[in-house]
Amino acid sequence: MPGAVAAVVSNFQIYDWPEVSIRNYALMVMMLPSDSARQWHVRELELVEVVADQVAVALSHAAILEESMRARDQLMEQNVALDLARREAETAIRARNDFLAVMNHEMRTPMHAVIALSSLLQETDLTAEQRLMVETILKSSNLLATLINDVLDLSRLEDGSLQLEEATFNLHSLFREVLNLITPVASVKKLSLTSHLASDLPMYAIGDEKRLMQTILNVVGNAVKFSKEGCMSITAFIAKPECFRDPRIPDFLPVPSDSHFYLRVQVKDSGSGINPQDIPKLFTKFAQNQSLATRNPAGSGLGLAICRRIPEFFRLIMNRFVNLMEGHIWIESEGIGKGCTATFIVKLGIPDRSNELKLPFVPKVPGNHVHGRTNFAGLKVLVMDDNGSVTNLFSYL
């Protein structure tokens, strides 16, 4: 018959190891011989309890250590796998871009030949039926040429090869130009248009004049498009950092310096408005709104309203331009029927004093202005191309 028994029992539990369920197990058993007169003292039993707790702690530390080493090994494996996947993806993207660049050029040349020769064909004697066919060929080839030239080429916008111009331009005359373009359209649509340029807005700035104009014109044009009758206003002023607080873009703080300032342009319209909840994704998500429109045509109706209100391509391109100019673009609306305010902020350089006195060398204006008449009479022209169809073209003219 055994004597008094004391056991060091561990209350050690690891919940993450399912195979080791919560159970107590004995680590050490101490036994007094049966014929011993000695009994376990209370202090000795207390000591056993303390040791048991210490052992439990040590065991759980060991378990954690083993677990973390296992996790670390797993992470290392995953990192290696991810790195491999990333490199594969980069290779694939590069291969795709190279392919597009090559195909782009290869497709352009025959496309231009089709378009040019079809146009010449139109000049010849054709039956009405033939004329209709040639017109269809021309319409389709023009669409195809635009897809090839513009769509495939969009990769340039992403891989950084799209560089913004950095030139001094007249900011005030740029706004005048925009107003000149938009005022006739607004008057036909019975929209009253007001504009205000802050008095502290510099006369000259450094940046990409053409693309800034494009951005303003698109934002303003979009506002005109969705205003029925009513009024519209365009305001431009220098963005002050203390007045700017947008929780959506917490990192963005337009702090001016000696060499640059932030231009803020706001276009307010009294058009159909947008539900404020739908606004956050407007300038970055294309797919989401697309699926809204196709999946809930009769449902909320808001998806459709958004898609029509802000054409997808406009959103993405404007976002791209504005981002390149280190700025932001966003829309605010108090709700359906309450109009919209589109605002964008872009960073522009400040010409130094000596530059301000010099006018820009060539005034840049949109459109096909012919600045001077050059006499081409009597000149001979040499045409070279690696594609025979292009040079053949000139023999017809």
């Binding site: 000049e123 669409l143 969009l154 990769s155 000149n180 008057s187 498009k225 873009i249 294309f286 797919a287």
Partner: protein
């Protein structure tokens, strides 16, 4: 409106749109995000172009409106194009800006004649519309009758071209003005006419002064009347005008330019 490619790529797009949105706001753009956005842009543009192309073919605009729009944008007319009553040319409005500012499917690729009729001819308005419509233009009718009777005496194509050109030149202000003066006279004249007629729409037969594009249009209208094959090409030898235009007359396989100045 959207092609079939929409359906199969919808699931792909749903997968892509589930990504973390907070990343979009950060300034760091991973290569994956960049590629995704590049694809989105291309897809958006391709869809938009295709829908434009398909909608422009079934847009319910009259043939004259379509022709007016084409001339507004391209500045040229083919031999086979005939200028019918209802044709109009818009000055002072940029066609591209109109496209940007209009819901093309509902409103139209060109401001409608009716909407232009309701524009107030205030002094600030730069809009001038030159309309070709013999049913509302006694000046044009008179000119057409005169040309019809004179044309009996014109034997060769060259003869007809020269006579018609000089007739139009005399009618629209002569050839002695310098380019700048012509533009100034044109502006003054149109302001006056607009306030007289209380409209921005001016009938072509009532213009005492015409820029090269108006002369070219009038030449084409009258040339079509007497079956003189003529087309309008963009660009003018004599002026740097944006809307410069020249008439080219076909005689057999020869083409020569009608000198309307």
């Amino acid at each position: 409106m959207y092609s079939d490619a929409e359906a199969e790529s919808e699931s792909e797009r749903n997968r892509m749109s589930c990504g973390a949105d907070e990343e979009e706001q950060g300034s760091f753009k991973s290569l994956a995000k960049q590629t995704e956005q590049s694809y989105q842009l291309q897809l958006a543009l391709a869809l938009r172009l295709s829908s434009h192309a398909s909608s422009s073919s079934d847009h319910s605009s009259s043939p004259t409106q379509t022709l007016s729009h084409r001339f507004w944008v391209d500045g040229c007319l083919q031999y086979s194009d005939k200028i019918l009553d209802g044709f109009y040319l818009i000055h002072g409005m940029d066609a591209y800006t109109w496209t940007l500012s209009t819901d093309l499917q509902n409103v139209g690729i060109i401001p409608s004649f009716e909407s232009l009729m309701s524009v107030e001819p205030s002094d600030d308005s730069s809009i001038v519309v030159v309309a070709v419509d013999k049913s509302r233009d006694p000046g044009l009718r008179e000119l057409q009758n005169r040309v019809a009777s004179l044309s009996n005496n014109w034997i060769t194509t060259k003869d007809a071209t020269d006579q018609l050109a000089s007739l139009i030149c005399n009618r629209m202000g002569g050839g002695s003005l310098t380019e700048e003066n012509l533009v100034i006279r044109w502006k003054e004249c149109t302001q006056l006419l607009k306030s007289c007629l209380h409209s921005v729409i001016l009938p072509i037969g009532s213009l005492p002064i015409g820029l090269c594009v108006h002369r070219a249009l009038l030449f084409k209208v009258l040339a079509d009347l007497i079956n003189l094959p003529c087309r309008i090409a963009k660009g003018c030898k004599y002026c740097r005008n944006d809307v410069g235009a020249s008439c080219i007359v076909q005689f057999g396989s020869d083409r020569f330019v009608a000198l309307i100045k």
